[in-house]
């Protein structure tokens, strides 16, 4: 099997590490070799957060090379664009539409414009045309907790059938890793993301 490279990008506090652990655990359930890279400490305080998930027999390095991502899962559009150099024209970018404004922008003396979602998408297109945008905030709200946007996007990712992991295995990993009281709302979020992408196709 060729190795599979998945990059998660977002903002500290969005639950990237949990999403990465769910995906990595599911890979192990499938008997696959996997490496998951994480960033802890200072970078988590509302800063940019990236995690790589690499699956395959020969995978050793926890991080991937530019231009080799199979999928970029963007929990936030600006952070997705920040990591777009890991994409090639074959890469699928699956991205949340909810922009989180960096706090610093409000303090700038000179005018800095936050790029619109449309601008961000146009810039991502320089690298790949395979882009799916999901309103994960809306779906997470529907599921019952806005903090489940990460799980909505894992559901959406499962529906794309790009992952070498079965959907049921992902659900199993979610049940294993989220606190017991939150299993139900997370599975609802997963299904809403899944159904959304399925209904698009």
């Amino acid at each position: 099997m060729k190795s599979f490279n998945l990059l998660l990008a977002g903002v500290g506090g969005q639950g990237i590490l949990l999403a990465a652990e769910i995906l990595g655990t599911a890979a192990v359930y499938e008997g696959l070799n996997v490496r998951v890279s994480e960033v802890h400490g200072a970078a988590q305080r509302g800063g940019a957060v990236v995690s790589n998930i690499r699956i395959g027999k020969n995978v050793l390095a926890p991080t991937m090379v530019e231009g080799t991502a199979d999928v970029i899962l963007g929990l936030e559009p600006l952070e997705t664009l920040r990591n777009v150099k890991f994409a090639s024209e074959k890469t699928l970018v699956l991205m949340n539409s909810e922009v989180i404004t960096p706090t610093g922008i409000f303090l700038k003396i000179r005018e800095v414009n936050l790029p619109s979602l449309e601008t961000i998408i146009r810039n991502i297109r320089f690298f790949t045309d395979r882009i799916i945008v999901v309103d994960a905030l809306e779906l997470a709200r529907k599921a019952g907790n806005v903090l489940t946007q990460n799980i909505v996007l894992i559901g959406a990712l499962a529906a794309t059938e790009e992952l070498p992991i079965k959907t049921g295995t992902l659900e199993g990993a979610i049940k294993e890793l989220v606190p017991t009281n939150y299993i139900e709302v997370n599975l609802r979020a997963f299904n809403l993301g899944y159904d959304y992408v399925k209904s698009m196709r």
């Binding site: 890979a27 192990v28 802890h40 200072a42 988590q44 305080r45 991080t63 706090t103 610093g104 303090l107």
Partner: protein
């Protein structure tokens, strides 16, 4: 999410689990029968102690968060000298603090296996420097193991204990961020019963390092290094993992760099031999010499210092002078700073071998340059509701921004960012207090040292005693958020909680300050802004050293506590009186205050209702939660 304790304690050899490198080290503790674990938290090492802390009482292990790394080593060393199996975990700079104990413990040695984990941080992800602690192995003569994945993290704990007991010498286990913070599948081994109890039989020539004993101790240590070389020579972790058919190029590597090296050769289609060194001190000179003899060119791939390269070159000079050796010393095919990546190794190897790059990085970078024009930096910030924001606002108001602020290691270092912009000098743990003494001697400006609660206990107290004794003139502000926040909310003496989850005795900062001889000591909640400003002004007018403790709990603790109860913190809200003057945003830079469609709004998901913005609003347009 840490794995559930039951999972890590399962006595199921052969079971495969996804573990973080640091969690794998914790599992290694369980398997290797280690009876005592000590630590001071620090990224990227924190999860080792935290994971053991959650398992300790169930597993029959004694675990403590020590006050600093030196004490952590001393506590563990005391037990290991009595025959207990021990492990101490720390970040790379922690070993600087512990070095005094480690250097002479190497002379004395241990009886039970003792492993010292040092987690290095190439790229300074969460650190003030990126020193290469393999050099401590050379300096101290201690054996050093370097895992490159979670499985090795676990397995090498037991291996380190075996070596340690064979040589009666502590063993360094050196990871890097990309090993400690990488998850991968780990296959469990069997579990040994934890060994905590032993006895110290008096033997002053062995255990008491006075000069007369220390000289023979040094010779005994050097004999142990010779025996360690034999272990290194036959170590399963020092091996040729791939042999090229043409004998032209050989790569020598270790740690995270090894992973990049393997993948880089595959991307380049480079036919090379690979020598992986999992035990990097002392080096297996026989294995390396043979590897040098079998190849025309040797490429050393390692992060940070040319630790392997220097030694390989020294060996080559004596044994195989004709072999060409490439690395970072001459030609600079690789850099001595920053962490590596597969791409960096690909580029270095391509330069050395003349091979074409497999990926057109230049055109990727050009394209990225174009699209990233629109990107805005997203730096880490103090959380919404963080009491440090209130503290810094108070300090700015109290001093009109005219004081100098030596600051320290912790979340509050984020206070240097605008708009708070508090913090002028930062070296290492506890240095705010020592440097404040020097700054106040060398300038005529008000000097305010800023230190966190955990950092105060770690290295602040001797500096405070020094300041009182030598009659320095500055104010020390202890920003006490009742936790070790930056590394994941570990307890410390001021919390009274212990690593075993029990309640110890609480050591109270203001009592410590008074005990150190400080006359002016005040404790204030920084959210009581005006009162806090008065206290700082008063402290600055005092002669000698004054101490103000700003005490309010870390917002993350409050949020988590509420979430655990299934509740939430009620947010502040903005009334009609708001005229969008933006004072709240410009003064505080709180991530919960955002501009939407030109209007100031409050992000309810982030706001903790701390009310600092309500205090600063000139129009009283922000209301506290009911």
């Amino acid at each position: 999410m840490p794995p559930k304790p039951e999972t890590l304690l399962q006595d199921k050899a052969g079971k495969q689990v996804l573990l973080l490198g640091n969690e794998a080290i914790a599992r290694g503790v369980i398997e290797a029968g280690i009876g005592i674990v000590t630590t001071y938290p620090g990224t990227p090492a924190s999860e080792i102690g935290d994971t053991v802390s959650k398992l300790a009482s169930k597993a029959g292990i004694y675990m403590e968060y020590s006050v600093n790394e030196k004490v952590a080593v001393e506590v563990a060393a005391g037990a290991a000298v009595c025959g207990a199996r021990a492990l101490t975990a720390m970040k790379h700079v922690g070993l600087n603090v512990a070095a005094d104990a480690v250097m002479t413990l190497a002379y004395i040695g241990v009886r039970g296996g003792y492993v010292i984990v040092t987690a290095d941080d190439p790229e300074c992800y969460s650190s003030q420097n990126e020193q290469d602690n393999r050099l401590y192995a050379l300096l101290s003569n201690l054996p050093c193991l370097e895992p490159s994945n979670p499985q090795e993290c676990k397995d090498m704990v037991r291996y380190a204990v075996q070596i340690s007991e064979k040589l009666e010498l502590p063993v360094l286990l050196r990871t890097v961020t990309r090993v400690s913070h990488t998850r991968g599948p780990v296959i469990y081994g069997s579990i040994d019963k934890p060994r905590l109890k032993g006895m110290l039989k008096r033997d002053v020539q062995r255990f008491v390092a006075v000069p007369r004993h220390a000289r023979p101790m040094h010779d005994r240590l050097l004999e142990k290094v010779e025996r360690a070389k034999e272990i290194s020579e036959s170590s399963p972790y020092n091996r040729v993992v791939r042999k090229a058919d043409n004998g032209k190029i050989g790569i020598i590597s270790s740690s995270a760099a090894y992973n990049y090296a393997v993948e880089a050769t595959e991307l380049l289609g480079l036919n090379v031999s690979l020598l992986k060194l999992g035990m990097s001190h002392p080096l297996p000179e026989g294995i390396i010499t043979q590897f040098l003899e079998e190849h025309e060119k040797i490429i050393v791939v390692e992060e940070l210092e040319p630790y392997l390269e220097v030694q390989v070159k020294a060996l080559a000079k004596d044994c195989v002078p004709k072999v060409e050796i490439y690395g970072k010393m001459r030609g600079q095919y690789f850099l001595r700073s920053s962490e590596f990546s597969t791409r960096i190794v690909v580029e270095g190897l391509a330069k050395i071998t003349g091979l074409k790059l497999p990926i057109d990085f230049i055109s990727i970078e050009q394209k990225y340059e174009e699209v990233s024009q629109t990107l805005i930096r997203r730096s880490p910030v103090l959380c919404a509701g963080c009491p440090h924001r209130a503290s810094f606002y108070v300090l700015k108001r109290a001093t009109n921004g005219k004081a100098l602020f030596p600051t320290d290691i912790g979340c509050y270092a984020l206070g240097i960012a605008p708009p708070l912009s508090v913090g002028d000098l930062l070296i290492c743990m506890g240095a705010s207090i020592g440097t404040a003494g020097g700054v106040s001697k060398a300038t005529e400006v008000d000097t305010i040292a800023i230190v966190g609660d955990s950092t105060f206990f770690h290295a602040g107290i001797p500096a405070l005693v020094n300041a009182v004794y030598n009659n320095h003139k500055f104010t020390l502000v202890v920003v006490d958020n009742l936790t070790t926040a930056m590394t994941g909310n570990q307890p410390h003496p001021g919390t009274g909680k212990t690593g075993m989850g029990t309640h110890g005795k609480r050591v109270v900062i203001e009592e410590v300050a008074r005990g150190c001889g400080v006359r002016f000591v005040k404790v204030i909640n920084p959210f009581e802004v005006e009162e806090a400003i008065r206290a700082v002004k008063e402290a600055l007018r005092t002669s000698g050293v004054s101490v103000v403790v700003f005490r309010a709990p870390c917002a993350l603790l409050l949020v988590r506590e509420k979430r655990r109860l299934g509740e939430r913190l009620e947010p502040c809200w903005i009334t009609e009186a708001c005229n969008n003057c933006m004072a709240c945003i410009k003064l505080l830079g709180c991530p919960a205050l955002v501009i939407k469609n030109g209007n100031v709004t409050i992000n309810e998901a982030l706001c903790t209702g701390c009310g600092l913005c309500a205090h600063v609003c000139p129009y009283k347009a922000i209301r506290l939660p009911e």
